[in-house]
C-alpha cells in the first residue's frame, strides 16, 4: 500500500451516500451569526436598536406558543416551495419558477373545487391532484423548452412567473369573479368541505403533513432507490450519466415537473388552507423565499427543513417589527438576503480539488 493509499484508508469517510453531518451545521450557524451582525449595522444606521429588534423578533416567533405555531404555518409554503427548487436542483436544474407554479397550482385547485361539481368529501383530494397537475404542467413548459430546445431553465421559469400571475389575474378579474361578491377580484368562496382541516393550534393545517411526506420521500428516494441514485449521477456529471446509459433528458424533464407539482401543491395548500378562495397576491414571494431556503439548505431534506423554519421565524418576527418598532415589514427581506449571501460565501470551494 502506497502512502497516498494509506492516507485514504485512514480518512475512512462513510462509504455510501451521506455527507458528513457536523460541518454544515457549524457553517450554517456561523453564516447566520454573520448575517445578523451585518443586519445590526443596517439597523443602527437607521437609528434602531438592533438588540431590541432581535429581541422583538425572537419573542414574536420562537418565544411564544402563538409565534411557534405561526412559524409552522409559514413552514408549509416555504418548505414545499423549497422542495420544488431542490428536486430539480439535484439533477442540476435551477428552478426559479416556484412562484408561478404556486399560482397555477392554486388556480387549478380553485377551478377543481368551484367548477368540477364533485361531492364534498372528494374536493380535497381532487384539489390536491389538480394543484399538482397544474404546477407540474406549468413547469413542464420549462422542462420541454430545456430538453427539446436547450432553453435555459432558470430564465424561462423566472419569466413564466409573470405570465402565471397575470393568468390568474385574468380569471379572478374576469370569468371566475364571485358574482355575489362586492365586485372585488375574488373567486367565489370555497365550500367548507374543500378547506383543509386544522391539525395543530389554530391555523396549522393538514398541509404540514405534505411537507413532512415530501421531505422524507426526498430523503428515501435519493438514498435508497435506483431512480434517486441515477438522478444524483445526472446532477453530478451529466456527461458520465449519458455514457452510462442513463436517460438524462428524461430525468431532467421529470425532476422539473415533480418540482412544479410540489409548488402547485403549495398553491393548493394556500387557497384551501388559508385563503378559502382564489384572489390576486396569494403568494407573498413564497416561491422566491423557497428558492432561498433550498439553496441555504443545500438541496438536502434536513437542510431544507431547518432553512424553511429559519425563514418562517424571520418572516413571523418581521411582521411584529411593523407593529412594535415602526419598521417597514420588508426590513426582514434584508436579513433573509444577508443570510443567503453569508451561506453562499461560506460554502467550500466546490470545483475539483484533485491532487
Amino acid at each position: 500500500m502506497t502512502i497516498a493509499e494509506t492516507v485514504r484508508t485512514r480518512i475512512g469517510a462513510p462509504a455510501f451516500g451521506g455527507p458528513q453531518l457536523l460541518g454544515p451545521f457549524v457553517r450554517f450557524g456561523l453564516a447566520i451569526g454573520a448575517a445578523i451582525a451585518v443586519f445590526s449595522v443596517v439597523l443602527l444606521l437607521d437609528g434602531t436598536n438592533p438588540l431590541d429588534t432581535v429581541q422583538l423578533m425572537w419573542d414574536a416567533s420562537v418565544g411564544t406558543e402563538f409565534g411557534r405555531n405561526e412559524v409552522l404555518v409559514k413552514l408549509i409554503p416555504f418548505g414545499l416551495c423549497a422542495l420544488a427548487v431542490a428536486v430539480p436542483a439535484r439533477v442540476g436544474l435551477i428552478n426559479v419558477g416556484g412562484e408561478g407554479q404556486f399560482y397555477i397550482g392554486a388556480w387549478a385547485a380553485a377551478g377543481a373545487i368551484l367548477y368540477s361539481g364533485a361531492p364534498g368529501p372528494a374536493l380535497i383530494p381532487l384539489a390536491l391532484v389538480a394543484g399538482a397537475l397544474g404546477g407540474g404542467a406549468w413547469a413542464g413548459i420549462v422542462a420541454l423548452l430545456r430538453v427539446k430546445g436547450g432553453v435555459n431553465e432558470a430564465i424561462s421559469s423566472l419569466l413564466l412567473n409573470f405570465v402565471a400571475i397575470q393568468f390568474v389575474n385574468y380569471f379572478v378579474y374576469g370569468p371566475w369573479k364571485d358574482p355575489s361578491g362586492p365586485n372585488w377580484p375574488f373567486s367565489a368562496k370555497f365550500p367548507g368541505s374543500a378547506m383543509l382541516p386544522v391539525v395543530w393550534g389554530d391555523r396549522v393545517t393538514l398541509a404540514i403533513v405534505f411537507v413532512a411526506v415530501g421531505l422524507v420521500a426526498m430523503f428515501l428516494v435519493l438514498r435508497y432507490t435506483r431512480i434517486g441514485y441515477e438522478a444524483r449521477v445526472v446532477g453530478g456529471n451529466p456527461l458520465a450519466a449519458e455514457r452510462s446509459g442513463i436517460p438524462v433528458a428524461r430525468y431532467l424533464f421529470l425532476a422539473m415537473v415533480v418540482g412544479g407539482a410540489i409548488a402547485g401543491i403549495a398553491g393548493m395548500a394556500e387557497v384551501t388552507g388559508i385563503q378559502g378562495r382564489l384572489r390576486p397576491g396569494i403568494s407573498v414571494n413564497y416561491g422566491y423565499i423557497g428558492f432561498l431556503a433550498a439553496w441555504l439548505g443545500g438541496h438536502r431534506p434536513l437542510g431544507i427543513l431547518l432553512a424553511a423554519l429559519l425563514f418562517g421565524a424571520i418572516s413571523v418576527g418581521g411582521d411584529s417589527l411593523q407593529l412594535g418598532l415602526d419598521l417597514p415589514g420588508s426590513t426582514v427581506n434584508i436579513l433573509m438576503a444577508l443570510i443567503l449571501f453569508a451561506v453562499l460565501a461560506g460554502r467550500k470551494n466546490r470545483t475539483g480539488v484533485g491532487a
Binding site: 500500500m1 484508508t9 462509504a15 456529471n237 455514457r243 452510462s244
Partner: protein, 517 residues
Amino acid sequence: MTAPVLAAPTLRPRGAAPALSARGLSKRFADVVAADNIDLDAYSGEILAILGENGAGKSTLMKMLYGYYHPDAGHLEVDGHAVRFHSPAGARASGIGMVFQNFTLIPALSVVENIALVQAGRGLRLDRRRLGRRISELSDRYQLEVRPNAIVRDLSVGERQRAEILKVLASDARILIMDEPTSVLAPHEVESLLGILRRLRDDGYAILLITHKMREVFACASQVTVLRRGRVIGGGPIGDFDADSLLRMMLGERQDQTAAVESPPAGPMGPGIRLEHVSTSGTDGRSALRDVSLSVPAGQIVGVAAVAGNGQSGLADVLIGIGKLKSGAVFLGGDNVTRASPARRLESGLCVVSEDPVAFGAVGAMSVSENFMLTRAPVDGKGRILRTRRLLAAAARLASRSPFPMPALGRKLETLSGGNVQRVVIVRELQSHCRFLLAYYPSRGLDVASSRAVQQMLVDLRAQGAAILLVSEDFDELRALSDEVLVLYHGEVVGTFGRSAVDPMRVGQLMTGGRAA
C-alpha cells in the same frame, strides 16, 4: 520595461551552488509521512529526473518546491540563498516555473493573451507587440512551435503544452519543473518535447522532470533521483544506472511484477465490434470520422494509433450511441445496434474506459463504491430499490480483486488523483461482464506496476473472448498487446498492420499524414 527582450539564464559551472537545492524536506498529512527528509540538488544546465511510482511522494515534493505546501521541516535554497515560499507567487519570483500535467491556460484566450496574464505584474499597459516579439524569439530559439494568435481552445494538446512552456519561460523562470509532461503526448510529440528540454538544458535552465517512463530518463536526464514511499531511495549521474537498476529502486520488492505481459496471440472467436462505413460530424472541436470500417473479432485486440485530434475521440460516442451517425452502421456481437439506446448496448456487454475518465466516466461528488455502480455491472442492484449493504459488499469484493491498491471505498472521486480515478474506472469496466471493450490510454497516469497489471487484465479479457479496441499513446504497449494495429489520420483509417508486420517508422509516418513513404 527595459529588460532585455530575451533573458536566457547564463550557464553556471557545476562547481557553483545548485540553482535549486532542498535539504531535509518533510511533509506529513494527518499521521502519514508523504515526504520524509528529502534532499535534492538541481543544477543549471542539467536535467534532474525524479522517478517514482504513483504515491511515491513526487507530487508532494513538487508542491513544496513550488510553494503550494509548506514543508514541516527542511529548507530550500535558490542559488545558494535560503528561501521560504508562502505561495507559488513567491516561487515564481525566485525564478521557479512549473508546467502542469493538466494545463493552466484559459481556453477562450489566445496564446499571447494567456502569456500576458502572467506578465500582469509589470505595469498596466499590455505591450502586445513587444510581448509578441518576445514570444516568437523564445519559440524560435527552442523550437516551441505555437501560433501566438491562435485561441487556446483550438490548439492540439502538444501545442497547448508548448504554449504552457512558453508562458513559464516568458515569466523569466530559470528553474523549470515539468510534471509528467509526456503523459498527454503522441509518440512523435514526445520526441520533439525531449528535444525542447535538451535545448533548454543547453541554454542553462535547470529542469526537474517528473516521470515514470524510463526511456525519457535515458533520453535526456543528466541526474536522477528515485523516490519510494516519500523517501529518496537513490540517485546520481544517469551514467551510473541502467533501466533495470532504476526499476528495482522504484518498485522495491515488487519488481517481479514488471515482467513483460504474456500475450499469446489468440484466434478470433466469432463476431465482436464492427463498424461499417461510419461517418460522424465532429463536435466540440473533435474531428469527425470519415467512412471508417473496422472489425474487432471476439478474442482479439485491435490497437488504434493516432495523434490526438484525428477522430479517435469520436469512437467512444459511436460505440455507446451518443449523438447521431451521418451514415454507417455499428454491430456488437453480430447484432446491428445502430439504433439501440446506450443502455441496451451497455447491457449487451459494452464497456468503455473513456478518454477522460474524470469528465466522462465518473462522478466527482460520489464515492468510489457509488462510482462502481455507474455502469451497472458488476456492482449492481438491478432492482428499483438499492440494497445498500449488498452493494457495499459487492464493491468491496470488486476492490479486493483489483491487482493494484485501491482508494478507500468511501472516498469521493473529486478528492482522488487522476491515476486513482483511472484505477476506479478500470476496475469497474475490465471485469468478466465485458464482451466488447473500448479502452483509451488504459495505463495513462499509472505507475509501472499498475500499467503491467492493466495490460494483464486486457490480455485476460481477450482470452475470455472479449473484443477489445485499444487506443493508446504508448506505442510499445500497442505493439505488445495488439493483434492488429489501425492508423487513424483525419478521421480515416489510413493503414492496417498485422501483428507481426507493425513497422514503427511506417506507422509514425501514416499517423502524421505521410501517405506515400
